[in-house]
Symmetry: D2
Subunit: 158 residues, 4 copies
């Protein structure tokens, strides 16, 4: 069985309406290309992206920090309960072929760092202008196109 | 969105033909009831159960020990790369509503212990006769019926 | 630098006085042989063993499930905050050269399973009579003597 | 028992001589103030910092990515084998009261992100000039003084 590309969407658990709308558009694009969305499974950017993917018929996976699957947002089709707190970020990144980062805080920064370490390409969507080694995109469509393109050339894990 | 019940199948990475046939029948039954199969994503019991589920149109999730999704068996639809080695057992158990255990070794014993700790009911399918606090089943159908029944009354995590 | 042998003591977070006294004696013996004690860092068997080790001048390491080091018992010299919940059991076992198990429940069973998987010898001290592949001891002194003896021949991790 | 403050030193596994000398000076200062050093247990900045701490009579803890304690550098007194790969970064950060970051790459960036998320203050020692929310230091002494000062007011984990 050939598996579909898996794209992570990372961003803050609380975000302004413009960022949420962008996340939802990213989710829609991911599903439209036949890719699977993986995220942290909670609110904000994670919920908006999952909503967009489900609206467009895509599969969504949420990697949760706790043991309670009821903490997944309602747009998560497959809730993975890790019980590992922040260490679950490593599972999100490792599970993805490529990573799309929207404006975020500490949590997102750690995920970008892990992606660089594990060789998963990162596409910064209107965010993190002062970080090096990231791909850049200005629209949801551009971000997902780049993510799909790069999914075939995932770097070597350490 | 109401999520489907998730049933873990745990057992050895290498097993005799009779055990593999039983695992495949369990996978088929899980898919037939509309449940999702989660397992360790590798060979032996894990591959046979996932094969049975896919043959019957079900979804399969493999929680891998490493970072390389190519190490998933070909019947895994969604490969979760944890990079966490044996600690990934905790993710398998926490993600499941109930757990079906086939004859296994050390790895399976640790998963049963975690399930008891996290309050996930365990159904021992022709295995572990000398362990207490496990539900018992003699056939694949009986095991999955019990697993589905118990999925609604999952215990409280610590 | 040659590192001292590291011995894990595992057992229930609540235990009757006789088991706690046994755990404390084990801790005392571990320190007396110049070994380091590692445990889950919480109460019951974990606290009693750490108390014994500290009373006898030994070092104690507690591998905690949460992020709060204040949850370590007062006899833990070095508190390792994992935030990984039950998955922290894998860290306890992997950090130990050998494992001494006192009467326990689900949590301890999962640790024994992990030890067998990771090739760390287990000494069952008046416990788990129905499990195979464990070494047996009847006294604290006998358990620690066996643990030290076996520390030099730790099995190969998978 | 009052536990000593624990300070993490994070940085690249390979670094130029000037950075290594700085790391060693940081380790020496940490031990000189009676604090415990925690790090990733491998080479480069991690080994240099641990060497400095041990030379000055301090305790050193190495949180390793693998299961093999022999992969710890020779200056690690207590080797914690996590087997969790990059997820072990979360254990380093959570175990520390404060974090000193030397010039690094992806791995270090993820650790800074985790520290911000878990509320552990970060002191950037001649590094990461373009990241916000970090404390700044120019010398080893200044970095450790700030780290000790901030150890008493560790933020609240999420």
């Amino acid at each position: 069985m050939k598996r579909a590309p898996v794209i992570a969407v990372i961003g803050a658990g609380e975000a302004p309406p413009g960022v949420l709308e962008l996340a939802r558009a990213v989710g829609r694009e991911i599903a439209g290309r036949g890719a699977v969305l993986v995220c942290g499974g909670r609110g904000g950017v994670m919920a908006a992206a999952a909503q967009g993917a489900r609206e467009n018929g895509g599969h969504t996976i949420g990697i949760l920090p706790g043991y309670d699957k009821n903490q997944a947002n309602p747009h998560i089709e497959f809730a993975i309960a890790t019980g590992m707190g922040e260490a679950r970020n490593a599972v999100i990144i490792a599970t993805a072929d490529t990573v799309i980062a929207l404006a975020g805080e500490g949590g997102t920064l750690s995920e970008i760092g892990l992606a660089l370490k594990l060789g998963r390409p990162v596409i910064a969507l209107r965010s993190w202008p002062n970080l090096e080694n990231l791909n850049r995109a200005e629209t949801a469509s551009e971000a997902v196109t780049t993510a799909i393109d790069l999914a075939g050339c995932v770097g070597q894990a350490f």
